[in-house]
């Protein structure tokens, strides 16, 4: 009941957001040079095909009707056709989605595994010593400041000189050759995770410091609980609450397609596909890709709201 009253407005808001995103993307379709027929069939299209498309998509109809038809087509799974391959864009995107998902998961796991514990440690230390200059700040500032393409380029340079174990490019699917897959995916995953480490570390550090200003921590100290017990029982859980939101945002962006890293490391994921679509003026890919990225982002954030409600019992109580 509590969960329902909390989630229902959020689901509605997410649907409204989704609607807005689709309208924005739809309108941008119409703004494209060459018009919608080009998007579907490419610029070198015969007038006959143009007429067929115009009739099929009702380009002579009012915008509202066109929009509704467009949405209806998407609900039926029709996101347009790639000019280059003449195949439905959605098929191509879904085929590449697992690659991006794997990359996103590697980055997320690395970022959480490093960022969260370091954030907790850094926050607790900062509160105990009253020094603002500590390792958490240094790592946080550095990680948030080195763009992924700078770090990626440096890694590529380093590993092109000393090949070691990693490989740049030459992607093989996880199912075909797990070890070979990891050899190509770990470096881009690592590159993507650095910003996440900084983001999660900074958020966690702030959250820990904020929790440690709360009276219930003083109360636990007053009961003679040991620092370790206070961290385990009270701080970890309370500090996780704001981190959930940030992690969801980060994961959403990763899933939307880590364009630069995929381009840099030749990882055949969604981001690289959309980017190549842009280079080939295959706009149907760009449109569908952007729309799907935004949809995934909204969905992930919805799930984060659910998780949030599970961690924080106060959620959903009007105060």
């Amino acid at each position: 009941m509590r969960l329902a009253t909390y989630l229902l407005p959020r689901v509605l808001a997410a649907l409204v957001t989704l609607l807005g995103v689709s309208v924005l993307v739809f309108l941008s379709l119409r703004l494209l040079p060459g018009g919608y027929a080009d998007i579907l069939l490419g610029p070198f299209v015969t007038p006959e095909a143009r007429a067929v498309i115009a009739q099929r998509y009702g380009l002579d109809q009012p915008l509202v009707v066109q929009y509704l038809r467009w949405v209806w087509a998407m609900l039926g799974g029709d996101f347009g056709v790639s000019m280059v391959t003449q195949r439905p864009v959605i098929d191509e995107l879904l085929r590449r989605a697992p690659v991006t998902l794997q990359l996103a998961l590697i980055a997320l796991v690395l970022a959480l595994a490093v960022g969260y514990p370091l954030g907790v440690l850094s926050g607790v230390r900062a509160a105990s010593r009253r020094k603002r200059r500590d390792f958490g700040r240094v790592i946080g500032a550095m990680g948030a400041s080195v763009p992924d393409f700078v770090l990626g380029s440096v890694l590529i340079f380093v590993f092109s000189v000393w090949s070691l174990w990693f490989r740049v490019g030459g992607y093989v699917p996880l199912g075909v050759d797990p070890v070979g897959n990891l050899r190509t995916m770990l470096l881009p995953g690592l590159t993507l995770s650095v910003f996440g480490v900084a983001l999660i570390l900074r958020t966690t550090r702030d959250a820990v410091l904020r929790v440690m200003t709360e009276p219930h921590i003083t109360a636990a100290v007053a009961r003679g609980a040991s620092p370790g017990a206070i961290i385990r029982r009270h701080i970890l859980r309370n500090a996780a609450i704001p981190v959930v939101t940030v992690v969801a945002t980060y994961f959403g962006f990763l899933l939307g397609g880590a364009v630069i890293v995929e381009v840099l490391f030749s990882v055949p994921g969604v981001g690289l596909y959309i980017f190549n679509g842009l280079l080939n003026r295959d706009y149907a890919i760009v449109q569908a890709g952007v729309l799907l990225a935004a949809m995934v982002f909204i969905t992930i954030n919805m799930l984060a709201d659910v998780l949030y409600a599970l961690i924080d019992p106060r959620v959903g109580v009007s105060r």
């Binding site: 105990s128 240094v138 380029s153 929790v211 962006f253 397609g257 952007v290 982002f297």
Partner: protein, 284 residues
């Protein structure tokens, strides 16, 4: 907590090593960016000033590029356009975002709903993926870069300003101004704006660092600043083609870009610490 303890919490933060490093670095980079064209560093666009892809030397501190151009003045040029482009985009966005956020928080109801949903919609587009769409519509270039930075940072300003405004709007001095017959615009500009400025300034620094990442990222993909102009991102793009034989191009522009973003972040941290200090209690 007694009154004395509350006073005690308002300490003056002392500058630490990281903050000093950030301020000094930012100062140096801004100096180079502003006065670069008049400094005796060499001509950034003179082709065959030296041998092609020449390693760093006393004459060419950052080496030369594939056309034999001196790379140091090109990096300085890059600093200039990266800072300028991001700053312009973030400044415009901050003004729009602050006004929208105040309107949403103060007027409430329908305005609030529309602005808040609008912010959600913009926020749902991952920055670089949205950048591909914008580049498809507007074509690659500076205007695209500015648009993408605005799309990515506008929600940040709206959300922060809105929540601060919500906290301030119910306070006595706002009600007093309303009762005294101040117009909505006057209440917002005279009474609310000073109270949201702190949050806006903090957000400004973070938005600037995000803006610089986006600008250089788009330029790296070839969608931002176009040749013959150079931004730090486009220099990296140029250098990455010669990564293995002339790594100094990527390394010099990459290090300078990272330092630039880091200095902005560090100054932002210092500003935030001064405005919203966070002090937890020790566990012993």
């Amino acid at each position: 907590m007694s009154g004395l303890a509350r006073i005690a919490r308002r300490g003056r933060p002392r500058p630490n090593g990281l903050t000093i490093f950030g301020v000094v670095t930012l100062g140096c980079l801004l100096f180079l960016g502003v006065f670069g064209p008049w400094l005796p560093l060499g001509d950034p666009s003179r082709i065959a000033a030296g041998p092609r892809l020449d390693a760093p030397s006393a004459q060419f501190l950052f080496g030369t590029d594939e056309l034999g151009r001196n790379f140091l003045p090109r990096v300085v040029q890059g600093i200039r356009s990266t800072f300028l482009l991001s700053a312009v985009a973030v400044a415009i966005t901050a003004v729009i975002g602050t006004l929208l956020g105040m309107a949403a928080g103060y007027l409430g109801r329908h305005t609030d709903q529309i602005v808040a949903r609008g912010a959600d919609i913009l926020f749902a587009f991952p920055a670089l993926v949205a950048g591909l769409l914008v580049a498809a519509i507007m074509g690659p270039g500076q205007a695209s870069a500015i648009t993408v930075i605005s799309i990515a940072t506008l929600p940040l300003f709206i959300r922060v300003v809105r929540s601060v405004t919500l906290g301030v709007a119910g306070r006595g001095f706002v009600t007093a101004a309303e009762v005294a017959g101040a117009s909505t615009l006057r209440v917002m500009l005279v009474h609310l704006l000073p109270n949201v400025m702190g949050a806006v300034i903090v957000q400004l620094t973070y938005a600037l660092s995000i803006g610089m990442i986006i600008e250089s990222g788009l330029s790296f993909l070839g969608l931002g600043v176009q040749p013959p102009n150079a931004s730090l991102g486009s220099l990296l793009r140029q250098g990455s083609a010669y990564l293995t034989i002339a790594p100094w191009m990527v390394l010099s522009s990459g290090v300078v870009l990272s330092l630039a973003i880091m200095s902005v972040n560090l100054v932002g941290d210092a500003v935030r610490d001064a405005l919203e200090p966070l002090k937890g209690r020790p566990l012993t």
